[in-house]
């Protein structure tokens, strides 16, 4: 079997039964933005703008490196962007412009 087939056949989240270390019984209090992100997911699903299964599929499509390196809610927010673009609800440029405005606002700068 072509060795890259395994990358396509096994989604990065499909880890049941794979070797793994001792469980680290960690937890953290959600940061405010993470809680807003979770609430956003619920609201998007309620409206079926992005349903929960689409979100899961989107996270899978980020691929192994991003799934491994982004945190749980970081993955979600990037996936929301991708799916909203896919559905023609937003364009990448709209989001980029808005992010620039938000950042400027945070820095107390004039919005250009």
């Amino acid at each position: 079997m072509n060795q890259t087939e395994a990358l396509v056949k096994r989604l990065p989240n499909d880890i049941g039964g794979l070797p793994a270390d001792r469980i680290q019984q960690t937890d953290h209090q959600l940061l405010p933005w993470e809680k807003r992100c979770h609430a956003l997911a619920d609201v998007l699903d309620f409206h079926k703008i992005i349903n929960t299964e689409e979100k899961r599929r989107g996270v899978e499509q980020l691929g192994g490196e991003m799934v491994g390196k982004l945190t749980y809610y970081e993955r979600w927010i990037v996936v929301f962007a991708f799916i909203l673009f896919e559905k023609g609800i937003l364009t990448p440029d709209e989001l980029a412009q808005k992010m620039k405005q938000v950042e400027a606002r945070n820095n107390g700068q004039a919005i250009t």
Binding site: L40, V43, H47, R56, V59, Y72, I89, K98
Partner: protein, 213 residues
């Protein structure tokens, strides 16, 4: 430029770190969706209140009631979601169903979601990080007894360990066994014994592991 009803904005104190890349993305997406009237300005705030209201204390009440009331227990095991809604007002704000898994002398249930992080959020709140992390998800379906040992739980060889892997619209709540020596406890006292981890199934309920919350 029009002012926006920036949902959940709060003045930043000098000590708070500046919002990072992903927080900026979250803020931007939320504001764009509100601008386009795809979501209402108060919806996120409201859903945060919903989420904050769901904690393991809700599940603990359900468990305690099942321990003292056999008729409630039977109804709960027949339709978890309907009975949580009707008897405790625990609304299920998503499309999920709930199956309550009863632990007995012969069967010890444990829940996991190997593919993602399915968890009975309406009745337990948000899952702990370890439940969503690779180690638990990979090993719980392959060596559940070793996993339980890491939580300090040893299940006798003649008891079946039954691990439920969530993949669809059903969520699971483990109904732990009532510990010995609680015959005179009130329902409230019983609920105080029931921890989140007992309702996931990685620990049993015992008199030493009281909730401090």
């Amino acid at each position: 430029m029009a002012t926006h009803d920036h949902d959940h904005e709060h003045p930043k104190s000098a000590d708070e770190p500046a919002p990072g890349y992903y927080e900026i993305m979250e803020t931007a997406l939320r504001e764009l969706l509100i601008d386009k009237k795809l979501i209402g300005p108060g919806e996120i705030r409201r859903q945060i209140e919903v989420l904050d209201s769901r904690t393991p204390a809700l599940g603990a009440k359900v468990v305690a009631r099942a321990w003292v009331d056999p008729e409630f227990r039977a109804r709960l095991l027949a339709n978890g979601r309907a009975v949580c809604e009707s008897d405790f007002g625990i609304s299920f704000y998503d499309d999920t169903q709930l199956i309550v898994l009863e632990n007995t002398e012969k069967i010890h249930n444990v829940i996991v979601c190997t593919l993602c992080s399915c968890y009975p959020r309406p009745v337990l709140g948000l899952p702990p990080d370890w439940y969503k992390a690779k180690e638990y998800r990979a090993r719980a379906v392959k060596e559940p007894r070793a996993v339980l040992s890491e939580f300090g739980t040893d299940i006798p060889e003649d008891v079946e360990v039954r691990i439920s892997d969530s993949t669809a619209m059903v969520r699971y709540l483990v109904l732990p066994q009532r510990p010995a020596g609680t015959g005179n406890s009130t329902e409230e006292q019983l609920a105080a014994l029931v921890t989140r981890d007992a309702m996931i199934g990685v620990v049993k309920v015992n008199l030493e592991n009281r909730n401090t919350l």
